[in-house]
């Protein structure tokens, strides 16, 4: 990266596991989340949600609710008739509140703003709605039936940020299709020595950020002001502005700490309903989802897929063919992008003679599906890597050998026209294989597996940032990345501190305020350190340039002779502290300097070709299965954080550890259930189980790989999602190594027991070969 070559590789702030700047405030309960905030004159909101999966609305009567003392406003779709009330960043398919039709159980139909939550809840129960039932299509097979009613009608309208070229027409309930067609797959399958074939089912999963979707909205003569736990404040600002017909500058969004995100708070969610209420009530409104409401606000896509892989007798991968359907629920949300990402992940990071992918994004009458950590990649890495291991078994190779033989090497093309591979995947696989003991002797009902994949990371690379120095020498980093647990404020401080030669702890970093903090496209796609971090690094360099200008005049030497250090600028043994530089510049204790930095798709290389970088998705797992119950214990897990340069190694490890547990939940027990009538079957944490301390692997290893091959600051590239993409495949490959073949996740004890006893019909004590 040319822009980082001026920086010395010897660092003091970067590369050090500095303690998080926000940990103390959070553990003491001082850190404010949206739910902890209150603004003057604030009302509380409750939402009336559809009890049916698919219906037309023939009547809504809000008069009783409006008459309840303490109710200030009841809002329905009819209150939005002066607007185009549809939103959706990919496809503009979603009304803020149901208009004439509901499409899933839980769809917002009306909302009440009242003096307190109990009053709002009581008023919601007084709203009368008549529904005329329509056929409910609560699963992929139901929605894909040729006779199925269309869940959406009329022309398909592109959203503000669909980023998918020309949006195709809807085909039945398929809202988006993504295809890859390279080489002559049919011919290869007809003549290949080995063909592995399978059908797979991947469950819908709930992100469960512990803090649910929360927003406070006000609407007055100045416009809209929001306090929202959104990951992408500038994209939400644009959508809210478009919905309410305001210029974006009149929508101001404050983003405090987020209680987890994992993709569930990406793009626009509950903000429009809160704004609609504030607009009608003329007072600020606070809206906090319950968990069951957040579960139908967004979730991970369920998938059904069929895949074939062809290989030569000596284990060379030749061709792959995939048809996959993703259940995006009643509204597209990020489904089209998830579908494209799944399609791109289908080949895996291998050399192929032919690849055919047909991926479709399908509407169903269930809660909308959007982003969840490593979206799309997780689904396809799971099935693709299952088939690679099956090829290995049939051709007598071990899991590492087959990958060594077929994996792309650094510099090779991953997808036509895109960024070439920027990581040493074979080295990464060898590390996890060693950590979990692939190839070591093992007992019965024990298995080990690895998996490897790539995730196109960075999203659209536009970030801007500023670094401000006050007359006192105090420094603040203005960067709009959302702190949702990953530690971005600490990492940003480290990056700026390294450039300015001061301790990271002296740099203040706050959350986004779209009125004053610079534009950042989004916090997701593992992009903050890499893209926003680079913008911030450039801003710090710009500030430093201004300081050097003043210091050079003071010392009366060329600026190249001045060094950064000792809390200021040094020429020989003379030191000018930063406050002194500021006084020299402004002639009194006052004034301020602001450095600016930006990243945009320009020139050649990572930021123009896309993706910004390939996030490495590598993990290994050792399982131990109880043959009596089918229960799977994870005895070892290992991941590789191939991050180029770890700005804060401890925070990198935490990303991988947390992603590992989420991956294990996804692989072993997490699954959202929707009944045929569209009712959620497990919408509480009692029934929807997430990992607890009891699920922690006995041995958990995170190997940090630092090859300085990233396009971010100091050679860094992002992490945190790859491990989640890799774990489900590693788990099922380990199970297959123990003789248990799973084609449907989660690998519950029942499924494992059935698979185990299907493969061993007579005698469970039969000896397994190691």
């Amino acid at each position: 990266m040319s822009s980082t070559t001026t920086v010395s590789t010897t660092t003091t702030q970067v590369g050090s596991s500095l303690r998080r700047s926000d940990a103390r405030a959070k553990l003491r309960g001082d850190a404010e989340f949206v739910g902890d905030m209150r603004v003057p004159d604030m009302l509380h909101a409750k939402v009336l949600r559809s009890p049916v999966g698919h219906a037309t609305i023939s009547r809504i009567d809000t008069s009783l609710a409006e008459g309840l003392p303490g109710v200030v406003a009841v809002v329905t779709g009819a209150d939005l008739d002066d607007l185009d009330p549809y939103f959706g960043h990919a496809i503009k398919d979603r009304p803020v509140l149901a208009l004439d039709r509901v499409r899933f159980v839980g769809e917002p139909v009306a909302a009440v703003a009242a003096v307190d939550e109990a009053t709002a809840a009581a008023a919601v129960n007084l709203i009368e709605v008549d529904y005329e039932p329509l056929p409910v299509l609560a699963s992929l097979p139901a929605a894909l039936d040729p006779e199925a009613v269309p869940i959406h009608e009329g022309p398909q309208r592109p959203g503000l940020f669909h980023g998918l070229g020309t949006l195709p027409d809807r085909e039945g309930n398929v809202c988006y299709r993504y295809r890859i067609d390279r080489g002559q797959a049919e011919d290869i399958f007809a003549s290949a020595d080995v063909v592995v074939e399978g059908e797979y089912v991947f469950p819908a999963v709930y992100q469960y950020s512990m803090e649910t979707h929360s927003v406070i909205a006000s609407y007055d003569h100045r416009g809209v002001e929001l306090w929202a736990n959104c990951q992408h404040p500038f994209l939400v600002r644009a959508e809210v502005a478009a919905l309410f017909d305001l210029p974006p500058s009149r929508v101001r969004i404050h983003v405090p700490y987020l209680g987890g995100g994992f993709g569930s708070k990406s793009y626009t969610k509950m903000e429009p309903i809160a704004v609609a209420m504030a607009r009608k009530a003329g007072r600020p409104v606070k809206l906090i989802n319950r968990v069951d409401e957040s579960m139908v606000t967004t979730r991970r896509h369920g998938m059904q897929a069929r895949m074939r892989t062809a290989a030569s007798a000596d284990g060379r991968l030749l061709a792959r063919e995939v048809q996959l359907s993703l259940d995006t629920g009643a509204y597209a949300d990020n489904g089209p992008r998830v579908t494209a990402t799944a399609g791109d992940a289908a080949p895996g990071p291998y050399r192929w003679e032919a690849v055919e992918v047909d991926a479709e994004c399908v509407y169903t009458n269930t809660g909308p599906a959007g982003s969840y950590r490593a979206f799309g990649a997780t689904h396809l890495q799971w099935i693709g890597e299952s088939q690679v291991d099956e090829v290995a078994r049939r051709t007598g190779l071990d899991p590492v050998e087959i990958r060594r033989k077929n994996l792309l090497e650094p510099g090779e093309e991953v997808r036509p026209g895109g960024k070439p591979l920027d990581a040493d995947l074979i080295g990464d696989v060898e590390k996890v294989a060693e950590a979990v003991g692939v190839g070591d002797p093992k007992g019965e009902y024990t298995g080990r597996g690895v998996s490897v994949g790539l995730l196109a990371a960075g999203a659209h690379p536009v970030s801007t940032a500023a670094v401000r120095m006050e007359a006192t020498g105090e420094v603040s980093a203005l960067v709009s990345s959302t702190e949702m647990g990953q530690g971005t404020r600490t990492v940003m401080a480290q990056i700026a501190a390294e450039i300015l030669g001061i301790p990271a702890g002296e740099i203040a970093v706050e959350g986004a305020d779209t009125a004053y903090s610079p534009y950042d496209r989004s916090t997701g796609a593992s992009r903050s350190t890499t893209v926003a971090g680079l913008a911030l690094m450039r801003a710090a360099q710009d500030l430093l340039d201004q300081l050097l200008e003043t210091a050079a005049a003071h010392f009366d030497v060329g600026r190249e002779l001045i060094e950064v250090g000792d809390g200021g600028l040094r020429y020989g043994s003379d030191v000018l502290s930063y406050p002194d530089v500021m006084v020299k510049r402004f002639g009194f204790v006052g004034g301020e300097l602001v450095g600016r930095g930006e990243v945009r798709p320009e020139g050649t290389g990572s930021y123009a070709e896309g993706p910004v970088f390939w996030e490495v998705c590598v993990a290994g797992v050792e399982v131990s299965v109880d043959p009596g119950t089918g229960e799977v214990r994870i005895t070892k897990s290992a991941s590789v954080a191939d991050v180029g340069r770890a700005i804060n190694p401890q925070l990198v490890e935490r990303q991988d550890e947390g992603g590992t547990l989420q991956g294990l939940g996804n692989a072993l027990f997490e699954e959202m259930i929707f009944f045929e009538d569209g009712l959620p079957g497990n919408d509480t944490l009692l029934e929807y189980r997430v990992p607890t301390t009891e699920d922690l692997p006995e041995q958990l290893t995170c190997v940090i790989v630092e090859n300085a091959d990233g396009p971010g600051p100091f050679g860094s590239k992002g992490c945190g999602e790859g491990v989640l993409a890799a774990i489900p495949a590693a788990v099922t490959n380990a199970l297959a190594d123990a003789g248990i073949h799973i084609n449907e996740l989660p690998a519950t004890p029942e499924r494992v027991w059935r698979a185990l006893h299907a493969s061993k019909p007579t005698d469970t004590s039969t000896e397994e070969t190691a």
Binding site: M210, G259, R290, E653, T692
Partner: protein, 161 residues
């Protein structure tokens, strides 16, 4: 608000006496957060699974999302706000910070109060299995638990003889 029955409670919250009129149906979590503005206890699952609303009542951990405010009458309630400035809090703070066991932080006040209730009784385990068991009623979606267990293990050594 529809008619409801209220009841008067006299209790001690974070060492200070309080007296209040509460609806019979008011949850302790709402009473703490909305009436007393003690927002360190967080609302999440609402079914006593996640532990993010954990507070101590007469020294023992309860899920304040499923505990009536009326039932604190005559009792002592401690929230994170009541322990964070105590002299004995430093080892808790240090352990969680040093292990980077705080990510989004939403679950941490609950984790700390669960830990503290055991430590105060001298019952905080020091072994891996015991620690996992002790913390199994507090969900964290960010960290993957390794760092939290290590932090609480350090606390067990530091605060218990």
């Amino acid at each position: 608000m529809p008619e409801n029955t209220t009841t008067r409670i006299e209790a001690e919250v974070n060492g200070a006496p309080i007296s209040a009129e509460v609806e019979a149906s008011t949850l302790l979590l709402d009473f703490l957060r909305e009436e007393l503005l003690l927002t360190g206890a967080k609302r999440s699952c609402e079914v006593q699974v996640c532990g993010s609303c954990t507070v101590l009542v007469d020294g023992g951990p309860v899920s304040s999302c499923c505990y009536l405010a009326a039932d604190i009458d005559g009792r002592s309630v401690v929230t994170i706000e009541g322990v964070r400035d105590e002299p004995g809090f430093e080892p808790y703070e240090r352990a969680f910070i040093d292990h980077a066991a705080v990510q989004c932080g939403f679950c941490i006040p609950g984790m700390i109060l669960t830990t503290k209730s055991l430590a105060d009784e001298g019952e905080l385990p020091r072994d891996e299995e015991g620690l996992r068991d002790a913390l199994s009623g507090n969900v964290c979606r960010c960290t993957g638990y390794r760092a939290i267990i290590d932090a609480v293990g350090d606390i067990a050594k530091a605060v218990q003889r």
